[in-house]
Amino acid sequence: MAVEVFMPKAGMDMQEGTIIAWLKHVGEQVEEGEGLLEIETDKVTMEVEAPATGVLLCRYFEDGAVVPVVTTIGYVGKPGEVVPDQPQTAGGAITAVPEKTVESVKTPIAAITDEINGVKTTPYAKQMAAANAINLSAVRPTGPAGEIKGRDVEREIAKSPLAKRIAEDKGLDLSTVTGSGHQNKVMKSDVLAKIANQQTSGAVAAVLDTTPLSGMQKVVGERMAKAHSEIPCVTQNTKVDMTSLLAFRTQVNENRENKLTINDFIVKAVAKVLHYDKNVLVSLGDKEIIHHQDVNIGIAVALDEGLIVPVVKNADQKSLEEISAAVKLLSAKAKSGGLMVDDYQGSTISISNLGMFGVHSFTPIVNQPNAVIIGICSIEDELALVDNQVENRKKMMISLTYDHRLVNGDVAAKFSLKVRDLLENPMDILI
């Protein structure tokens, strides 16, 4: 029975391949595993091997054709076997099939191979030899017309099995290693020396240890990468004088058992601003901007194995005490792994607080589908001239990042200023 020859799918993202050259003409005998044609993807040039022993019964596409992957491009079978007139595709349109004359079908192999120093070589073999600095005149050809094929060149990169294993493990390209074994065979010591050399030259950093990514790390990483690459983001830093708030907080906390944190005041202040100004509570839909009603503030919580952003729902309707309790509870649940799906979904804006780490300013990454994330920085001593007197003021940066597709600079700045004003007049937070 005739066996199909496919355009191979030589990689996850390979959609189509170009036929560089057929190595066999119709009617020619082929052995299973023998090179039948050469194809090219956007990444590699490779040989397609005959799937069976027999004769090449037909070729549906000729040199230069761009063919979708897993499309039948020919058949190999017994002479005289009947094969379909038309190629079968596995979906996808076939583009640019150049017409070929009858003569080209019978092109002898010699004509499609290059001659280098009198040695016939397939283009793939030539490319491999060049990449590995292999002298083609020293390569033993095994092609049916006496041409050097890719497999012949590959054989020439002599390496010990151990060297091969180590190189594969370390991702080292053996063609860059000079072998010390018999006729430059690459040995373990050569591979280790190359790795050591790369490490000292800084090309490859020394690896102390590797730890597999946790499920959460993978998800967080993907989300971060998506947000970072997709969003045209801007970070604006606004300085806030926290002197009054610190004094106010001390006063409020004086007789309280559950002390309120600076973060609680900030969340409450942000919630209050958002209650009246919902310009930044937006998300990007397919063809529209979605305006949110609820002030649901995501609070970034760092965990050993990643990051999670539980949500204080309807924060604008909660008292400072309620916000404090909610943040405390969510944070504890996050750290003990007790968050429910509802606890970390539905945020409309997020806050990331690095104040306890001495961070002066930073560029937080927007927590999609939010449009804005507010980065809270450390409170720092700063000398200021107040009424012609030098005073020590407590200053804190708000680093606000926004998605510029949804929010413009003036809107973001106005929002930051409102938050600043509220924090600088702490009594107003509660009123």
Binding site: S160, P161, L162, A163, R165, I166, D169, M187, K188
Partner: protein, 460 residues
């Protein structure tokens, strides 16, 4: 004075003659001096003669076991005619030494019979003649080391040199030293009919080969009627009035025997150093050399037992080849990592590479073992004492060390040594089809076991 030699080699053993031929192959004019017989200790007084003896011991063992294999034979106590044994041995030796002489001749190596010595001016003096060469390769070999024991020079106290010419089988033989030499002679003479006692200073025989090998040998040596006294030094040897030798041990016990063999190692034969004694840098009792076999004196190389790197004939040959290449202008280094150690007892034992202890220090290891009790050829041959143990690096399957005991262990170790030097890993060995039934299958199985996928072992 005769001039014009590129390379002069002093000593015609397996190091020296190989060096001479190699230098000649590389286009050098070569002269070789030998004070005794071409072939050195190996061919004349070591490897080869002892193997003829051990082979005879093996025949005797088979004859003794013949009835258990269904052979009808009427020999209750096979014995040897030692005169014929020695003659047979001499014939073998003669064939080989004649062969080597022929090789030297065909390579146009000029061979001078006589004791050669270096002179202060860097020349060689032999029988009053002076010779000059651009480079000199010292291959003086070694000689039995005699410990400083009272009575060690008594009549009847032999070395491996003199024991090999003994034309009667001693009724009793005490062997001082349970190393390779001691064990091989014990095997031979026990089979010949001597009552053999091995006296060893350490806690096991052939200590460098490790505990696993000794565990098997302890049993087989005992089965051959050889007595073993461990953890014991010899305090004195005395010849009593009856002409018997009385060996007194450090714990004041005495063993009486007709003959005593001193097999306590071999020391460098430094005679050829001549006037350069004291001028050439030494390392213990041996001539110090670098990896290229160069001594402290420019143009002078030293190989084999004389430099003490590794006292094995095959190691000497490798050193000889390298020294010759370097004497002819090369810069090769000797790599002795994969030189196998072989012990020719019944059964044989062999090792190559690192011991388990040494491997553990450098690698995360996995160990595979395969007993000959599970090997078809061994069972069919009635030779099931033995095993193959393979130590590999867990990560890449690199074979780090191999130890084995078995009827042809000295042959089987070659596969392991080849794999190791060519960096073939346990993965490839396990995947290589080994003919069945062969002892060599055990190596493949041990490799597979180290990888946790041995077919012929119960699941762990």
């Amino acid at each position: 004075m005769k001039n014009g030699f590129d390379v002069a080699v002093i000593g015609g053993g397996p190091g020296g003659y190989v060096a001479a031929i190699k230098a000649s192959q590389l286009g050098g004019s070569v002269i070789l001096f030998e004070k005794d017989a071409i072939g050195g200790t190996c061919l004349n007084r070591g490897c080869i003669p002892t193997k003829t003896y051990v082979k005879i011991a093996e025949y005797i063992k088979h004859i003794k076991n013949a009835r258990s294999r269904g052979i009808q034979i009427d020999v209750s106590q096979p014995g040897v005619n030692m005169v014929d044994v020695v003659a047979n041995k001499n014939e073998v030796v003669k064939k080989l030494t004649t062969g080597v002489a022929g090789l030297l001749d065909s390579n146009r190596v000029k061979v001078i019979k006589g004791t050669a010595e270096l002179t202060k001016d860097g020349k060689i003096r032999c029988d009053g003649q002076s010779y000059e060469a651009k480079t000199i390769i010292l291959a003086g070999g070694s000689k039995p080391r005699l410990l400083d024991i009272p009575g060690i020079k008594s009549q009847g106290v032999l070395t491996s040199d003199t024991l090999l010419d003994l034309e009667t089988v001693p009724k009793s033989l005490v062997i001082i030293g349970g190393g390779v030499i001691g064990c091989e002679f014990a095997t031979a003479f026990a089979a010949f009919g001597s009552a053999v006692t091995l006296v060893e200073f350490t806690d096991q025989l052939v200590k460098p080969m490790g505990k696993n090998i000794y565990k098997v040998l302890r049993k087989t040596i005992k089965a051959q009627g050889i007595k073993t006294v461990l953890n014991t030094a010899v305090a004195s040897i005395e010849r009593n009035e009856a002409g018997m030798l009385v060996v007194t041990t450090s714990d004041q016990k005495t063993i009486t025997a007709e003959k005593v063999l001193v097999a306590t190692g071999r020391c460098a034969d430094l005679e050829c150093l001549g006037e350069l004694h004291g001028a050439i840098e030494m390392n213990g009792g041996f001539v110090a050399v670098d990896h290229e076999m160069r001594t402290s004196i420019p143009g002078v190389f030293c190989i084999g037992d004389m430099n003490g790197q590794l006292q094995l004939a095959h190691a000497a040959s490798k050193m000889g080849e390298t020294a010759a290449v370097n004497a002819m202008g090369g810069n090769e280094k000797v790599d002795l990592r994969y030189v196998a150690n072989c012990l020719y007892t019944l059964p044989e034992a062999a090792t190559v590479g690192l011991t388990e202890e040494a491997a553990k220090k450098e690698y995360d290891i996995s160990i595979g073992t395969f007993s000959l009790y599970a090997n078809g050829r061994a069972l069919a041959s009635g030779e099931t004492d033995g095993f193959v143990k393979v130590i590999i690096d867990k990560k890449y399957g690199e074979i780090l060390g191999v130890q084995m005991v078995g009827p042809v262990a000295a042959e089987m170790i070659c596969e392991a040594a080849l794999c190791m030097s060519m960096e073939i890993t346990a993965h490839e060995v396990a995947a290589t089809v080994h003919p069945h039934p062969t002892y060599c299958e055990a190596f493949m199985e041990a490799c597979a076991d180290a990888l946790g996928k041995c077919i012929h072992l119960p699941r762990k």
